[in-house]
Symmetry: C2
Subunit: 589 residues, 2 copies
Amino acid sequence: MDRTACETMVETWVTAFGTALNRPDIDRVLDLFEPEGFWRDLSALTWNVYTAEGHDAIRAMLSACLAEIAPTAWKIDQVLGSSDGIHQALLSFKTRAACCSAVLRLRGGRCWTLLTAVTELIGFEETTRQRRTNGAPLRYEPGRPDWRTERDRQKAELGVTQQPYCVIVGAGQAGLGLGARLKQLGVPTLIIDKRERPSDTWRERYATLSLHSPVWYDHMPYLPFPETWPRFASKDRVADWLDAYAMIMELDIWTGADCVGSQYDEALGAWRLSIIRGGRPIELRPAQLVLATGFWDAPYVPDIPGRDRFGGRQLHVAEARELGQCGGLRSIVIGAGTSAHDIAAQLWEAGANVTMIQRSPTIVTRIDTLLPAVEIYDTDAAAPKPPTELADLLAASIPNRLMPQFQAPFIAAIKAKDAAFYEGLRKAGFLYDFGEDGGGFFTRGMQDPSGFYIDMGASELIIDGRIAVRSGVSVDTIRERSVVLSDGAELPADFIVYATGYRRLAQAGAILSSEIIDKLGPIGGIGSGVRSDHGPWAGETRNVWKPTRQPGLWFHNGNFGLMRFFSRVLALQIKARQTGLPTPVYGLA
Amino acid sequence: MDRTACETMVETWVTAFGTALNRPDIDRVLDLFEPEGFWRDLSALTWNVYTAEGHDAIRAMLSACLAEIAPTAWKIDQVLGSSDGIHQALLSFKTRAACCSAVLRLRGGRCWTLLTAVTELIGFEETTRQRRTNGAPLRYEPGRPDWRTERDRQKAELGVTQQPYCVIVGAGQAGLGLGARLKQLGVPTLIIDKRERPSDTWRERYATLSLHSPVWYDHMPYLPFPETWPRFASKDRVADWLDAYAMIMELDIWTGADCVGSQYDEALGAWRLSIIRGGRPIELRPAQLVLATGFWDAPYVPDIPGRDRFGGRQLHVAEARELGQCGGLRSIVIGAGTSAHDIAAQLWEAGANVTMIQRSPTIVTRIDTLLPAVEIYDTDAAAPKPPTELADLLAASIPNRLMPQFQAPFIAAIKAKDAAFYEGLRKAGFLYDFGEDGGGFFTRGMQDPSGFYIDMGASELIIDGRIAVRSGVSVDTIRERSVVLSDGAELPADFIVYATGYRRLAQAGAILSSEIIDKLGPIGGIGSGVRSDHGPWAGETRNVWKPTRQPGLWFHNGNFGLMRFFSRVLALQIKARQTGLPTPVYGLA
């Protein structure tokens, strides 16, 4: 179909859609959707992160939301083109409270998928780009404080004489990115972190740790990584960046401040957070509390019999900052995910003899193969690319339910292109798969981001036999200088590294009462029913970036790209509450 | 003329031009230029920053350079359009050593102005954007150091066991921006600064100091200011930025290191720099020395009779960090340039009675009027704008000789648009003009960047009489509580601020021998023959960004925009020398 026909089709649909919503005529709206069509909403209609799947769900959502939200003024911003009979377009529209964006997929004249997302709150727009403030006065006024004086005053007062509206616990990339958004929106926000230098969470990890996603996917809000940066930044570079980012974004951070407990005061409509800062107890009373402490935050070491008797060196990969001399060390890496691969390769580089113990299959994807799958984000490419914000919208426009289906051609292509690579892994005894549902790396990420490896070179070492693998087994017993596997084999061992993952939400558990935790239900995962992501189906990541059953409690988490995008959705939900806008939540889990 | 006709004309010219150069047929090349045509070259042909004005100069330049440089492969990258019978195009070409860019202005089929500029050295391209390094290994190797270990090693060795190829004195925005370029080019460079925290040069200034140029003009190399920043950043924000920039760009900086003397060792082909670092003398032996210490680096206080007897408070504006209580203070600001305006307004805000003493006219331009003149840099604008690098090229494509002519319509428009504003200044007794040559702010900037003010609000205070002005006079005598003007008037005074400018090149004078300084001739200015910029005409800023008569000695200076652009030109000249490329300099002053 040529461009014009595609445009006409989109125009016809958008006009009919806008008319039906304005009337409102929900039956007519449903006529415009496929029976199994999807409407994913990011706080534009639902003040939630919610996907309505099929006519009944869409009808229920619209019945509840339309009157209050009144989406109107639908406009086509850009027709994005057609392929396989599917026409895509970028739309914009307004609600009573917000300017919103939408991504439409039409098929046979009806909507297959629609994404609606809040972009900015009317009257509370971010002062970025064209809307930058002047900074320096264009008009002098007696008593006007200069920037530094004002900044120092704010810093000194926040949390002391002025209660923050929002407290974010955790000053890693999650907390800082969200903090930057809230700063722009003028929400008094205090970020607290128990470490003296939060970026040390990165520095303390093993030496070869780097981002396994390309720099142009990982940009944080407002300040892209510099064009000089390598494609995959080392952990220490990321740490330096986070320190600089916090300063440049003027974030209010208390380091060395540990949140040791919390209580939600219904009468006050605010939290009472017990903070220990510099040895002294302080109570903070924010209306909103965001936990950005990471979901997998406490090293997990399995309680393998004999562990205490081991005569060599053993540590969890989280403690592997300094490996020291490894020449000739017989090293056992327990685990086969990302950190297991990284540390195994690092041990090999350091001269150790390395054996990886792999219990179950790993989703392995070669980095060269993965990059084209996210090339929409590649702002380095010579060909014109959408700005990162649009790329984010397009990525979000795929409903989670459809992710395996959208991934299928990509997975098929991987299997064909990298057949020799996978054959090499197979021959080396390494177990790989493409996830229980066959959706590979990307769907696994939504379900439970573990059990995968983006290959940055360790797979080659496995294929070549330089890293040995024992797969389909676990370690049953540890002896003084060996490990005994579940198949009865005994491997000599001088050094054991547990790349056995992390316990979830340890910090959240220390902060929140068990009553609240029980009320919340599962946190993270989408209820896909696969390993570590039990159902029922939720359609969206549970309790993350969206209202929870506990008023004033939020979780922020994800990879750099997801956090960049959803930090805005979350920040706008918080801003709306701060300004007293009505925020009726539809579809609270 | 329509687009196609313009394209055809450009194509015809470029084809003829390329053919004539290849032959080479200099007469034919000259046929393609207007008799008074300009060829500005930024180290593409001349390994210099040099403008050939007219046929004879172009002939001389080509006769000297063509054989060695061999510019070839001329291509039209973009036809930029036509106005007033002038067609502009962006070209690219190659020399033996480099990929280069060019900006062409055609008029009546012949070239009026041509800019040629080196873009990158073949084989030594920057690893930016599409050419980013991987950072993390895609292939592991035993003994490979991690990023932090390697970085720490470099830092520890540079200047100690490894001599830097280049030393930059001064870690302000000039030194850091150039340092970032050289880092990308792999030139071992040490930046030294006598301060413990170089950015304090910004922090120590008066509280209301801010950039008077918009944020999108001021971007430093590789890392644009964030989209959240105000249009005109406060000095303290700039200071924080410089600290972050140095870290993010991984620059090697010795702070608290004072260069107290130098000697060029001809036999060694290198400098012997005497450095005092932490109280200990160290000798550094770089091949290249760049002074980036600022041209106006020592506060100048005129020796007005009676100054010692003044019973009130007096200070140079450079020392005006803390003004303290000013309510009712009778304050005299001596001077009428930017810092005089800023400090006068700040005093007024602090409750002082302020009188500005203006000896000679000031070039005043309203910021709202100035912004459209640099709107080509406005990356915030909704309309598509060229990337900053192209905007820089276009700005550089105007030969300095033509600047007043290019500025004329803009100046005329200012006079018309802001007539009421200037009338207000006139009525308030304030002397303004548009520079000796009528070229206004921009031409003044090339001649001697002083005696101007981009109005950020102080002019309104003058117009309204809230800041008093005594103009056409100077202070003849200072008494215990008053100043006596050259017209005999006596003004009571509790506080005198000397906004009387700076002595030039004080640090350079302390570092370089007087023999070298004498050899160099004037530094800065273009020899326009106007006030503070004595002739003869040089065509280019003297001794800046280009080879000097002292081998291995360079000056780097300018506003943020000029430094961003010329830091590349300068860095590539240094890189070429480091790699041993032939760099025959044409037109050394």
